[in-house]
Subunit: 211 residues, 4 copies
Amino acid sequence: MDRKVSPAATASPAKTASTANPPSPQRADNRRAQVIAAAARQLRENGYASTSMRKIASEAGILAGSIYYHFLSKEDLMSAVHDEGLKKISTSVRRAMEKESDPWLRLEAACAAHTGAILEADDFAGVVLADISRVSPDLQKLLNEQRNGYEEVFRVLIDELDLPPSVDRSLFRLSLLGSLNHASRWYKPDGRSPAEIAKTFVRMLRSGVGQ
Amino acid sequence: MDRKVSPAATASPAKTASTANPPSPQRADNRRAQVIAAAARQLRENGYASTSMRKIASEAGILAGSIYYHFLSKEDLMSAVHDEGLKKISTSVRRAMEKESDPWLRLEAACAAHTGAILEADDFAGVVLADISRVSPDLQKLLNEQRNGYEEVFRVLIDELDLPPSVDRSLFRLSLLGSLNHASRWYKPDGRSPAEIAKTFVRMLRSGVGQ
Amino acid sequence: MDRKVSPAATASPAKTASTANPPSPQRADNRRAQVIAAAARQLRENGYASTSMRKIASEAGILAGSIYYHFLSKEDLMSAVHDEGLKKISTSVRRAMEKESDPWLRLEAACAAHTGAILEADDFAGVVLADISRVSPDLQKLLNEQRNGYEEVFRVLIDELDLPPSVDRSLFRLSLLGSLNHASRWYKPDGRSPAEIAKTFVRMLRSGVGQ
Amino acid sequence: MDRKVSPAATASPAKTASTANPPSPQRADNRRAQVIAAAARQLRENGYASTSMRKIASEAGILAGSIYYHFLSKEDLMSAVHDEGLKKISTSVRRAMEKESDPWLRLEAACAAHTGAILEADDFAGVVLADISRVSPDLQKLLNEQRNGYEEVFRVLIDELDLPPSVDRSLFRLSLLGSLNHASRWYKPDGRSPAEIAKTFVRMLRSGVGQ
DNA sequence: GATGAATGAGAGTTCATTCAT
DNA sequence: TATGAATGAACTCTCATTCAT
């Protein structure tokens, strides 16, 4: 309820904080990583409210109470997972973009990477996409800041497009991201690939389906 | 957890069942309706896992235990709300469509109605959009069938459009619905109206934003 | 932490509130009484911080969770016990006073009753005397109000004494009550009776021990 | 819970033991002293049950586990604080007494010192007054012996008074100490000073307030 | 002398659910 | 139809304590 989330946890590449007892910089915080991984799996599978510290702990091979050595609270842990997830997805997107120079191709590449990341079996992505409208307001604010930081890249990509002035770039971005993120609700691995889906969505929006 | 959902609860126009003790046919099942309404409000506001039977009951003016006269379980109640929500939104969309005859305008009208329903203060519509990936598999299957039944109307609307053969109508539908449903994550009442948003999205997809 | 104590719980003879689910007025709230009694015993024996809801419950023959049907929280329960204890002691003191008319004898009688109550094996009295300087501020304030209400009777009794103007009646009262309450730390049932102790203390303060 | 208190820890002027690993005799047991000081502050502020080893440790600038190098257990630490506190207050009282030769003035001086110690910001004195009725029986016995040792000085002071044979010196002592110790419950720094309070209480008992 | 990391028990509390009345 | 009262399991979190390093 109160500020149990360490506010320093951002998606920036800088050193992540959010530890109950900060471990000495370099030394094997693999246990911390294990806990984060276990939490990601549980969060992806059961959502925040239905994920229990006990299950996370048992998946990480420790007892529930021991998690509190590494994290201040459930919310703090959730925030760390979210942070990690965004970093992963963000890196993947940025890497994909850099290979292209044409604005529309850059957007396509970014969307393909984004969609690939969220549809892969990667547990972290699921957390990043999750509906957070019901976690505590404090945590919500934090996660939204993290998300906005990430989505900034799409804002920039769309700014670089040569569009008629009548187009509302903001609505364009929201429409596109909505289409892509929604794919996690219907995607089946035996159909079109995430990259194909993403590119098709971008092209539909670029050229229109009418006529 | 176990199959406590009465399997007869579908979105079909037939009389919905799913009652613990069927009340005398005609007479005042207004209590039942009150409970459903209270549940809708709570589900919309807090999500499934964080909604308690006690809060629902107290909002309906009865005690928690009394709900079990009307419903078999929490999941059964959830299912009833979902059912009701789909019926409402479905009716609203159908009514809006019927006023138009041009296929694209019919689609626009339907999308506007859909978006209006899910973004406005109607508690039931919120449930329709809710992420159900964590309720019990049984219930999940049931709700997904209900949702597919509802989305059928968009399939038909899109089938009636005159589109080039290269267009994948299925992806088009998924892209459009994704954009619209995603709006619940960023919509603010002081900006563009739900109908405007919906129409803009349809037109973007129809004509494209490029050049 | 937050206002989990029903503020209506006062030592006044009026109807006590502070129930989670108010039982129908008259009907057997003997379970509630049992819980209060068990809590009194535990509180007297172990103090607030060391008394667990589980132990209270098991002594009352129910499960820990069931207490929350009758009380909002541990603090609410503590408050109810305190209230009850003050009522008991208050009644006893008032009854004793009424039999005397001479101011000093009235004071003696009241002190004898007070001391008798807190030294008896009555669990409630122990709670009334307990140091509450470390329970939550909210609860502390509430209990202090209850206590001040009770001590008012001594203020009145002392006001009615014919004392030289040099005497600080407030310090007199605090000295007297301090002596009496402190007895719970050293009293042994095989020595002087509570009434004798109390009367001796009053007389020492009245006439002095010097010369 | 079990007998984890080193039995050698008494208020005797002999070297106090009660160490887990006796440090090299002379050298810097300043860490030990720091821990004791931190514990005194926490115990005074939060009471025994609500004081955690972690908080004590963090206030002493070490980790919780490290306390166990210096002390066998929480109770052992508590006992050390109590011991230290009694020594401090005892010294202060004795020093004040020595300046007076008249028996009543000696008593007044001692009471003033006693009251000053327990009401002022000295953390150790607060522990001396603490209700110890709920620590383990072993520790309780130990602390009570320490306290009795301390109160001996008042026994002696009162023995030296010239009192009528009808006066029960024991009850006189208990009444006086009760009044004084009770002051910690109502004392406010902006009112009368501890010394004034103490002297007033002694004089009331000496001369009486009556007539 | 101290740390990092964990243990295991137990804390207060909430929950869906049951059932006699 | 609803209530009063309880169940039992689960929840997040805190604690004193241990021990290899």
